[in-house]
């Protein structure tokens, strides 16, 4: 863990994960980029969009017998709505994401063997992709835009960033997702659906009239 004052307002910034690149100051909403021990300011973000997400920074739970903590999130928008991607860190230092869309939750982790980026110009004909010995089929591709972020994130994700997302499914209960941003690099994850009860999430947000989760 690394603590430092916000270069803009002096409020305390906490970098819990070594992989954190961006930390959004919780007091002044400044984007703070970490270069080892040096911090760089990169503008401010507008207030976060309101939503009914039960997750928030600080929520913990257990996935595959490993405890995780929610460190930050980015909100992604596409023409048919928006969803949250919560950055999580496991007790052993590895990281992943909880995607929250249409009221459903899934855990996304980096595959054991990272496949090469599929050829984007031939996606119409070559729809399958092999990841960790499972075959996935392309089910959707969409242009997304970052609508805001908070807390710690492993890359610079600020409102207005655009990327392309390819959604794959294995036809049973697993799916894969490829995010191609402006940088030459891309992110690939394999995911499976979870419920908050199954991962025994604690520290969830409480909503008026809904009692304790």
């Amino acid at each position: 863990m690394f603590k430092a004052p916000c270069p803009s307002c002096g409020g305390e910034l906490i970098f819990r994960s070594k992989t954190t690149v961006l930390c959004v100051c919780s007091y002044c909403r400044s984007n703070v980029i970490r270069h080892d021990v040096d911090l760089e300011l990169m503008g401010k973000q507008a207030d976060l969009l309101p939503d009914m997400s039960p997750l928030q920074i600080g929520v913990t739970g257990i996935y595959k017998r490993k405890r995780f903590h929610v460190l930050g999130r980015q909100i992604l928008g596409w023409p048919d709505g928006r969803w949250n991607e919560w950055y999580i860190m496991f007790s052993n230092g590895s990281d992943g994401w909880i995607a929250e869309a249409q009221g459903e939750f899934s855990v996304l982790l980096a595959p054991k063997e990272r496949p090469g980026l599929p050829n984007l110009s031939s996606l119409k004909t070559k729809k399958t992709l092999k990841i960790d010995k499972h075959t996935y089929t392309l089910v959707d591709r969409k242009k997304v835009e970052c609508l805001g972020s908070e807390g710690e994130l492993p890359f610079k994700a600020v409102a207005g960033d655009k990327s392309l997302v390819l959604d794959y499914s294995d036809g049973k209960n697993r799916f894969a997702s490829i995010e191609i941003g402006s940088s030459p690099d891309f992110n690939i994850f394999v995911g499976s659906f979870i419920t908050l009860a199954k991962v025994r999430a604690t520290g969830l947000r409480e909503f008026e009239g809904w009692g304790k989760p």
């Binding site: 009914m52 969409k142 969830l204």
Partner: protein, 434 residues
């Protein structure tokens, strides 16, 4: 239940509340950040909540034309399978001329569920993320259960109210396949963009009335049979079948034990010639047969039953033996009448040349049989063999038990069959035929 994907509008926030562009009314969202389209409660247009200008997706004229009232009002909350859900959306869909209603339920910690209602029959519906295995549209496997294809049809949205997590429009079209294993139903819904599997569980209107605190009998009484309605007699049949089999086996064992246990003591056996009486002082023959008396015999065991069996090679005739088992000492007679009748045509026959009759609780002692025969024709003599046996096993009680046990089982069985026949009449895959 679909997520359209028209990639036209610019991305934009979904706010907690905003004003209807058509009438100015304030709209409050429940699933903030998730809901994509919402209907205006005052002017009934459908608004795109993701559009910066809150574009109108559907004009009021189109949504209001077939105004429907949800029987569980939007905003109602109730506990289903242990979790509280709020009704946030309501729509009607149709397959041709058959309408049904869908209620969108929301819980911020769990997400979305549905209630479907058709003809007063309700189901609690959940989207599946572990996909069933489909066998060429004839059956589907989910969690080791086999579901039979019940109906292949379509669904078209005809009415919308409340908020939804996709861009909903009147006339949204999808193809639907329903597979059943009551009280469950698996449905596959296919639009041009995606295919979605759901699992429906049958739920009674009574239960929903109490769950959503509705007035008693405010939900209409179900009519007809729903695809996933549990057969009321099937559970009975299963239970009855078990009980019947156990009872039958017990009775059979008792009967067989009895059959082995009895002594089957032969008391008398012999041919009897039935002759007509010659009238005194006349050459004429009486219409009556002579009284027959057997030799005496001993019944050694007390209170046993006896069986009188008669056999005669008669055709189209009857014999009636008005027999008495007479105690030699007291002269008291116990009636044990026996009738043998046998009729035969070229391709039919009735009765038999052999018949039995029983008498019970005979005290031990010395007896003889006194028989006054009668017959249906006027032949002078008839040959007859009789046999008197004491302590025999009697199967008639057993047959009665068999009959009494199987009748209700069969009745319920017929009920089960006709229920299934009626159920499948409503599906496109009716195995019972038209």
């Amino acid at each position: 239940m679909k997520k359209a994907s028209q990639k036209t509008a610019r991305f934009s926030p979904v706010l907690k509340s905003f004003n209807c562009r058509s009438c100015g009314a304030t709209l409050d969202l429940k699933a903030v950040g998730i809901s994509v389209s919402v209907s205006c409660p005052s002017c009934h247009v459908i608004i795109d909540a993701t559009n910066p200008n809150y574009k109108i997706l559907e004009k009021a004229k189109k949504t209001y034309k077939f105004k429907k009232n949800p029987s569980i009002p939007i905003g109602s909350r109730g506990k289903l399978s242990g979790k509280t859900y709020e009704v946030i959306g309501f729509m009607e869909r149709m397959d041709g001329i058959y309408p049904w209603k869908e209620y969108l339920l929301y819980n911020p910690y769990i997400g979305f569920r549905w209630l479907f209602e058709m003809n007063g029959h309700w189901s609690f519906v959940k989207r599946l993320r572990t996909l069933p295995r489909e066998q060429l549209y004839s059956s589907a496997q989910y969690k080791k259960k086999t579901f039979k294809l019940f109906n292949a049809g379509e669904a078209k949205v005809t009415y919308v109210e409340g908020e939804f997590y996709w861009r909903v429009k009147i006339d949204d079209y999808s193809k639907v396949w329903d597979y059943i294993s009551p009280p469950y139903m698996l449905s596959k819904e296919v639009t041009k963009d995606e295919s979605i599997w759901t699992l429906s569980t049958y739920i009674t209107p009574k239960r929903l009335e109490s769950v959503f605190h509705l007035e008693e009998n405010s939900l209409i009484k179900p009519y007809g049979i729903a695809p996933n309605q549990p057969s009321p007699s099937k559970a009975n049949f299963k239970r009855m079948f078990g009980i019947t089999v156990i009872t039958l086996l017990t009775c059979l064992l008792l009967q067989l034990g009895n059959h082995i246990w009895v002594s089957n003591t032969l008391l008398y056996q012999g041919p009897i010639n039935l002759n007509k009486e010659r009238l005194a002082n006349s050459r004429k023959i009486s219409t009556k047969f002579k009284l027959v008396k057997t030799p005496e015999f001993e019944i050694k065991q007390d209170k046993k039953n006896i069986k009188l069996r008669g056999h005669s090679a008669i055709y189209n005739n009857w014999i009636y033996l008005d027999a008495l088992l007479v105690n030699s000492k007291t002269g008291k007679g116990i009636p044990i009448p026996l009738e043998i009748s046998h009729y035969k045509g070229s391709d039919w026959s009735e009765g038999s040349q052999t018949n039995d009759t029983h008498q019970y609780n005979i005290p031990k002692g010395t007896y003889y049989l006194s028989i006054q025969p009668q017959s249906g024709n006027f032949r002078n003599s008839i040959r007859l063999g009789i046999e008197l046996i004491s302590d025999v096993s009697i199967f008639s009680n057993f047959y009665w038990i068999l009959f009494l046990l199987l009748t209700p089982l069969l009745t319920v069985g017929v009920g089960v069959f006709s229920f299934e026949k009626k159920r499948w009449k409503n599906g496109s895959e009716n195995p019972y035929g038209e």
